[in-house]
């Protein structure tokens, strides 16, 4: 029984491939349309994943820099240390003295000529403070409070842009979701129509098969295979479009990266996400086909 069932499925799969190849232009066009439609939301998703990983590398918890006045004394530094230790919002902090800061500046970016020509160290002492994750409003209050401490020149909220990026990513995710829903409906509609046209050319076969005892699932099967295979091909096309775009962008990025001494390149979808994309596109094709066949079969039931 199982063997016969498997052989039937294998047979249908083979027939479906033959049918796809027998109309190469039509098949190719639908696959390209589906691929482009899918590549839009998937591509934006990839872009956002990349932005997210960049922002994730930069700061995991909110960070502030406290710059001290240039004439700040050792006592001031000790007092600020104590104030930071007592503050419940502060998770950790690190003191960067003006000498260390200057040394770091000399180390990086080939600025040693410039720094060597300085008469005196223009950099202030600073604290780098990591705080609890909190709303921007609370963090802003904390920043204002620190600003009032004596011997503090300026408090900079380093990770404000990360917050903004996260808000933007949240909006982006919503846009991706909307796009994905709309374009999925479009793909189902495309597949519905493709299968409807196929059914019209196979009307005799369907009617006769039903008259001599074919179940609905027997009649549906080749169309479902067709929808799923074409959907899968559309998904592969979308994946390839994104891969090509990433390759192109990365080639451009290499120049910028060299200019700014900054490691940046885009990543493609993770293996899990890639498989999800392919499965989802196959499912969309299957669903469009299923709806199409169901609406036709309903019309020819006995009354």
């Amino acid at each position: 029984m199982i063997r016969a069932w498997l052989m039937q499925h294998g047979f249908v799969f083979f027939i479906t491939l033959k049918r796809l190849i027998s109309t190469p232009v039509t098949s190719l066009l639908s696959i390209i349309v589906m691929g482009i439609a899918l590549s839009l939301p998937a591509g934006i998703y990839v872009l956002m994943e990349n932005l997210q990983s960049i922002s994730g590398q930069t700061a995991s918890s909110p960070q502030m820099s406290l710059f001290l006045k240039l004439d700040a004394q050792k006592e001031d530094i000790a007092r600020i240390k104590q104030q930071l230790e007592e503050n419940s919002q502060v998770v950790s902090f690190q003191f960067v003295s003006k000498d260390v800061a200057l040394h770091q500046l000399q180390q990086s970016n080939g600025l040693d000529n410039l720094t060597a020509s300085l008469i005196r160290n223009p950099l202030p002492d600073a604290f780098i403070v990591h705080t609890l994750k909190n709303t921007t409003e609370t963090l802003e209050q904390l920043r204002a409070a620190m600003q009032q401490w004596s011997a503090i020149e300026h408090v900079q909220f380093d990770s404000a842009w990360v917050e903004r990026l996260h808000a933007l990513l949240k909006l982006g995710r919503f846009v991706v979701l909307m796009l994905a829903i709309l374009l999925s409906i479009a793909i189902i509609a495309i597949m519905f129509n493709t299968i409807r046209l196929q059914i019209l050319t196979k009307q005799d076969e369907i009617e006769i098969s039903k008259l001599i005892g074919a179940t609905d699932s027997f009649i549906r099967r080749p169309f479902l295979y067709f929808g799923a295979i074409q959907g899968l091909a559309g998904g592969i096309t979308a994946w390839s479009i994104i891969a090509l775009a990433i390759e192109t962008v990365n080639a451009e990025l290499i120049e910028i990266v060299q200019l700014y001494n900054f490691d940046l390149h885009l990543q493609h979808l993770s293996p899990e996400d890639s498989i999800s994309l392919l499965l989802f596109s196959a499912w969309l094709g299957w669903l469009g086909a299923r709806l199409s066949v169901a609406s036709h079969l309903w019309q020819i039931e006995p009354r």
Partner: protein
């Protein structure tokens, strides 16, 4: 055993094709259904295979009420029946062999036995040498025999034929009737609708005649 009880069929346009039919066909019996065209012969046959459904009444086949059959159960009913359609319903995009193969593909027989079954059916109707031919290249009589081969290839208990000798000359018609008789002799219940009186002259089989949707005695 096929039992009709108070079966009526009225079409949506108000036309009454069958009016309160009661009949019984015992299993293994061969029955002719006669009457003018429009008397309801085709409708009656289609009700048996649930191709159409009665407006009222019950139709029982081996204890199962066809009138109330769920849609999902209809295919399994049809697999017990071999139906020879008035308009043949052959597939012109495939050859003789593949036309006869279709019922076996549908009920998913094992691939090893299907070819021999198809050839056995073609042999019974004398079309074995034409298995590669396309239906369009066959004569009227050959097409009718192809329909018979397709109807019997899955060895149904009930064989239904709607005007099987429709446009055939007398000799061909006699051949075909002989085939039905031989199927009946191996235990198949056979129902044949025909308006061809010459077929019925020397038969000892049960004859039911329909007149304007009613059984005439």
């Amino acid at each position: 055993m096929i039992i009709f009880k108070n079966v009526s069929k009225r079409y949506p346009d108000g036309y009454v094709a069958l009016n309160n039919i009661d009949l019984t066909v015992a299993s293994g019996e061969m029955v002719f259904l006669t009457g003018h065209s429009g008397a309801g012969k085709s409708t009656l046959l289609k009700l048996i295979a649930a191709i159409e459904r009665p407006t009222s009444g019950t139709i029982t086949i081996s204890g199962q009420n066809i009138a109330q059959l769920k849609l999902s159960a209809i295919p399994y009913l049809r697999r017990k029946i071999g139906f020879i359609f008035q308009d043949h319903k052959l597939l012109f995009d495939r050859n003789v062999f593949d036309n006869v193969l279709l019922p076996l593909q549908i009920s998913s027989f094992d691939n090893k036995t299907v070819a021999s079954r198809v050839r056995a059916a073609l042999d019974k109707v004398g079309l074995l040498k034409k298995e590669k031919a396309m239906p369009i290249a066959l004569s009227g009589g050959e097409r009718q025999r192809l329909c018979i081969a397709r109807a019997v290839v899955h060895r149904p208990n009930i064989l239904i034929a709607d005007e099987p000798t429709g446009n055939l000359d007398v000799e061909y018609a006699r051949d075909i009737m002989a085939m039905f008789t031989s199927f009946n002799q191996v235990g198949v219940t056979v129902l044949i609708a025909t308006h061809d009186a010459s077929l019925l002259e020397d038969t000892q089989h049960h004859i039911l005649s329909l007149k304007q949707g009613k059984l005439a005695v």
